[in-house]
Symmetry: none
Subunit: 200 residues, 4 copies
C-alpha cells in the first residue's frame, strides 16, 4: 500500500512539469464539464493531449490523480482561508473566511462541488489525512481572545468549528450549483447563518 496514492515521480525536466500540469488541468476540466461520469483516465489523458501511459507515469492510480487534483484546488482555497483566519479579531477573521469560501466556490462551482463529493470517499479521506484542514483554521479563529466566552471549552469549540464548516460549505456549494454569481449577497447570507449559530 505504502504510497499507492502519492505521485509516482517528481517531474525532473521542464517538459514533465508541463505535462503534469496539463494532466491536472485536464482532469479539472473533464470533471467540471462531464461530471463524475465522464471522469475516467482515458478521457483525462486525451483532453490533456497526452497518452494514457504518460498519465500513469505521474500518477500511480486514478485515485492518486484525484487526490492530487483535490489537494491542488484545496491548496488555493486554503491559502486564502488561512490568511483570513489570521486576522486578529475573530469577527473580521470569520467574515474574511466566509468571503474567501464564497469567492472560491463561485469561481469553479462544479469542480469544487464534485471534489467535495470525492473527498468523502474513505480511501481519499485517509490519504489526505490532516492536509489543508479548514476545520483547524476555524478552531484557531474561535480561540482568539475576543471570541465568545462559551467557546473557551475545547469540546464546545470543536463542535462549533465542525458545524460552522458544514454550514459554510453547504451554503456555498448550493449557491454554486444554483448558478448564483453574486458573491457579496452569498457572503451576507452565510455570515448570517454563522453568526446566528454562534449567537444562539
Amino acid at each position: 500500500m505504502s504510497d499507492a496514492l502519492s505521485p509516482r515521480k517528481a517531474p525532473r525536466q521542464r517538459r514533465s512539469a508541463h505535462t503534469v500540469e496539463a494532466i491536472l488541468e485536464a482532469a479539472a476540466l473533464v470533471l467540471e464539464e462531464e461530471g463524475l461520469d465522464g471522469f475516467n483516465t482515458n478521457a483525462i489523458a486525451r483532453r490533456a493531449g497526452a497518452s494514457i501511459g504518460t498519465l500513469y507515469q505521474y500518477f500511480p492510480s486514478k485515485d492518486a490523480l484525484t487526490l492530487a487534483l483535490l489537494l491542488r484546488e484545496e491548496a488555493k482555497a486554503h491559502a486564502q482561508a488561512a490568511a483570513a483566519a489570521a486576522l486578529p479579531s475573530w469577527r473580521d477573521a470569520l467574515s474574511a473566511f466566509i468571503d474567501a469560501a464564497a469567492r472560491q466556490q463561485l469561481t469553479r462551482p462544479n469542480l469544487a462541488r464534485l471534489l467535495d463529493q470525492e473527498e468523502e470517499r474513505p480511501d481519499i479521506r485517509a490519504a489526505k489525512d490532516g492536509a489543508h484542514s479548514f476545520a483547524d483554521l476555524l478552531l484557531i479563529l474561535l480561540d482568539k481572545p475576543d471570541a465568545p466566552a462559551d467557546l473557551r471549552d475545547p469540546a464546545r469549540r470543536a463542535v462549533a468549528a465542525a458545524d460552522l464548516l458544514t454550514i459554510i460549505r453547504a451554503m456555498v456549494d448550493a449557491a454554486g450549483q444554483r448558478g448564483e454569481t453574486d458573491v457579496p449577497d452569498l457572503a451576507r447570507r452565510v455570515h448570517a447563518a454563522a453568526l446566528g449559530y454562534l449567537a444562539a
Copy 2:
C-alpha cells in the same frame, strides 16, 4: 425523455406489489451496507431474491430504480415534515421540522446520505422535479402569520427557505456520517443555526 425513468408498469396484482417492495428494500439494504460501489442491479436482484429479469420488468433502468427508492424514502420523511409544517406557530413548526429531519436522518444515516448524493445527479433531479418538495414546506412555514415580517417579500422568503433547507440538510447529513446518535443535541444545534440565520 419519454418515460425512461418512470416505473415500467404499475403493479396491479398483489404479488407484483410485493415484488416491487422487495426490490426497493433490497436496494436500500445494498446501498446502506455496500455503499455506492456495491449498488448494482445484479446485487440488488440477488438480495431481493428475484432474478435480474424480474427487476427489469418493474424498473426500466437502474436510474428508474434509484429514483423510486429516493421517492420512497423521501415520502416517509416528507409526511412527517408536512405534519410539522402544519403547526400554527412558525416557531413550533420549524422546531418540529428540524426534529423530524434529525430523527429521520439518524435512523438510516448511510442510506440517507447516499441518496442525497444520488439526488444531485442532473438526470435524477430532472425526473424528480417537484415531488416531495421540502422547500415548499418551508415556504409555507415561513409564510405563517406570526413569521418575521421581513419574510413577507416572496423573493426573500424563497431564498430563506432554500438556505434553511441547505443548512438543515447539511447538518443532519454530517451528523449522520460522523455517527452521532444524540438526536436532541443535534436538533438543538440545527435550531441554533436556523433561528440564528433568520434573526440576522
Copy 3:
C-alpha cells in the same frame, strides 16, 4: 480472498454446462496452439464462441479459469494413475503408473507441459492444495508389502516418491516436447530410470 479462485456459479441449465465446457476446451486449445503468450481471456472467449462477459460469469478471474483447466486435465490423468497405483504388486503398479503418465502426456503434450508450468505459480499451488496428488499415489505404491525394504522408513519413502515423480514428469514432458510418439519406448526408458533409481 475466500473463493477468488473457485468457479463462480454452478451451471444450472443445460446451456450453461455446455458453455462452461466450451470455455474450458477453448482455453485448452488456445494454450496448446498459441502458448502462454496467447493465453488471454479475450482470446479464450472468442475461441469459445462466447463473450468475455460470459466467461466471467463462470470464472471469477483468469487464475480461476487456469486452475479449473488444470484440475480438469489432472483429473483425467489422476484417475488413470490411481487405478495403476492400486495394483497389488509395487512393480506392476509402477509400470502401469509410468505407462499412464506417458500415454497421457503424449496425447496433448503442449497442453500438459504448459499446465505443468502454470502449476508452479504460488497462487495456483496454494489454491490447488492437496487435490490430485500424484506424489501421494507414489507414496502408497512404495508402501506396498513387496516394496523394497529400505523404503519402510517414511522419510526415505517421501524423498523417493518426490524424486520419482520429478523424474517421470520431466522425462515425459521432454519427450512430449520433442514430439516423440512412441509410447512404449518412452515408458521403457522412464521405467529404466525409475527402477534404476530405486535399485541404487
Copy 4:
C-alpha cells in the same frame, strides 16, 4: 530473423562493458527477487542504475537481454561441466558432471529455475541454437572408451544423453525449488538415478 536477438553492439570501451555487465547482473537480481512477474525492462534498468534508453543501446529487445543473461549463466555452468566431462573415466566424469550441476543449481536456485523456464520459449531456443550444449558434453562422456558397450550405437547414445540431461536438470531444479541445501545428498540421489538408468 536478422539479428533481433543478438546484442546490439559489441561493447568496445571499458565503460560500455561495465554497463552491460551491470545490466545483466541487475536482470539476474530482479529475476531472482521478483520472479518473472517483476522481470520488466524498466525495473532492470532502474536496478542497474541506468536509464531505459541505455539498456536499449546494448540490447535491441527484452528477448535479447534475456538470451544474453541465459548465455552468461550457462557459460559459468558449462565451463565447470566441460571440465568434469573431460575426466578420462566416464564414471568419474559423470560424477563430477552431476556434482557441478548440483552445486551450480543450489547457488542461485530461483535464478536457474526461471532461466530454465525462459529457455523453453521457442524464440529463445531458436536463437540460442547449439550454444553451450550440455547434451554434447554428455555425448562425449558416454563415448569414452570405458563407457557401457551398448552406448557405442550413436542413436542409443544420443537418446541416453538427452534422457540423462533431462533427469539431472529436473532433479536439481526440483531440489533448488524445494529449498534443499545439502549438495552431497542431492548429488547422491541424482547419481543413483543416472547410473540406474544406464544400468537398466
